[in-house]
Symmetry: C2
Subunit: 211 residues, 2 copies
């Protein structure tokens, strides 16, 4: 009788509000439960089910949000004429993000790593790949290492260091090993040692108060 009839649309603002509140509760170390999350908002517990399908979906969306924020932070790194400096700066930004939001960082790598949009993780890696690609074109790396490989290796080093510090047993000064590790990696990939040290030194400014 009314064939093309379409019902009430869900309000995207509710979804955003819930994710932002969850991120804030994570930051302030409040336990995030179905009821505590909706408490203080104008919506009921059912909102979590209509917008996320349950708490699992909410955590998934929160992981997604973490990658989005990381991507935004990496985007703030302005490319220069020195790709090695840039790649270092990207890694430093990665560390800064993890240190500023350790709980969110941990959530990002939780539970089977299922994201709503797996592309989001690839997109952040792409920042590193791009810098590596420019480094390869600039002749700073040997051709037998692909940009993706170098980006992945840089990521592994950064993740290992920062996760052991931000959510692990190592003390914060351990981060000072970052430049040495990156220099070791870049040099092993073909960059000139002295030039590499310079580039890494210039790029290594982990801004720990941005967001």
């Amino acid at each position: 009788m009314y064939p093309g009839v379409v019902a009430r649309r869900r309000d995207p603002a509710v979804r955003t509000q819930l994710i932002e509140r969850a991120a804030h509760m994570l930051r302030t170390r409040e336990p995030i439960t179905l009821r505590s999350l909706v408490a203080g908002t104008s919506v009921s517990t059912m909102a979590i089910y209509t917008h996320f399908g349950g708490m699992d979906g909410m955590w998934k969306a929160l992981r997604q949000e973490g990658f989005t924020r990381l991507g935004a932070r990496l985007a703030q790194v302005t490319p220069s004429a020195d790709p090695v400096r840039d790649l270092t700066a990207l890694i430093a930004a990665y560390l800064g993000n993890a240190l500023d939001h350790p709980d969110l960082y941990r959530v990002m790598f939780d539970a089977n790593f299922d994201l709503e949009d797996a592309q989001a993780a690839d997109d952040t890696l792409e920042y590193l790949v791009q810098a590596a690609e420019r480094g390869r074109r600039a002749g700073r790396y040997r051709a037998d290492t692909t940009p993706l490989e170098l980006a992945t290796q840089s990521w592994a080093v950064a993740h290992g260091l920062v996760s052991l510090v931000a959510t692990g047993p190592l003390p914060r000064p351990t981060l000072a090993h970052g430049p040495l590790l990156l220099t070791a990696l870049f040099t092993a990939t073909g960059d000139d040692p002295n030039r590499c040290r310079q580039s890494v030194k210039q790029g290594w400014q982990p801004d720990l108060t941005s967001d």
Copy 2:
């Protein structure tokens, strides 16, 4: 009247049984809850409280167990005349352990990293420190890097790589970057490039079917 009286002692076998069952449930992906853990055993839920003080204490003990197993695996690495080979072999064993028991590995680095005995984590690190120390004495490394620093750096690299593979988004073949990363690190610390490559190649045999 009976001043020095001592009451019934708790049975250590119960504690061991519960931890082993928890480890097994972790391996078989069964959800570990207070009730599901004691189900199938002859003990009641109260046993978790007398032996661990609650589920938190049980997880803590399980983390401890993880480090104990890791230590046992590292102990299987027999030292040779080549300390760089040995350090590489230790890292390979570390990776093998994490890949064999990814869930236990994740638990080990969960939640504020509080262990029953913080020494256990240091003890496993000590294996790496010892190898690094022997490497320094053999003149393979410069004196401006302490054995603890080199061990920590090796750990960070290994942890970053294996956690992104075992419980993260990277595919398993990514582990093949291990030798390159270690060679880069050891070379940057002063080892001769060719000799280092040899040592790493000899040490890199991640036995993934032990335990």
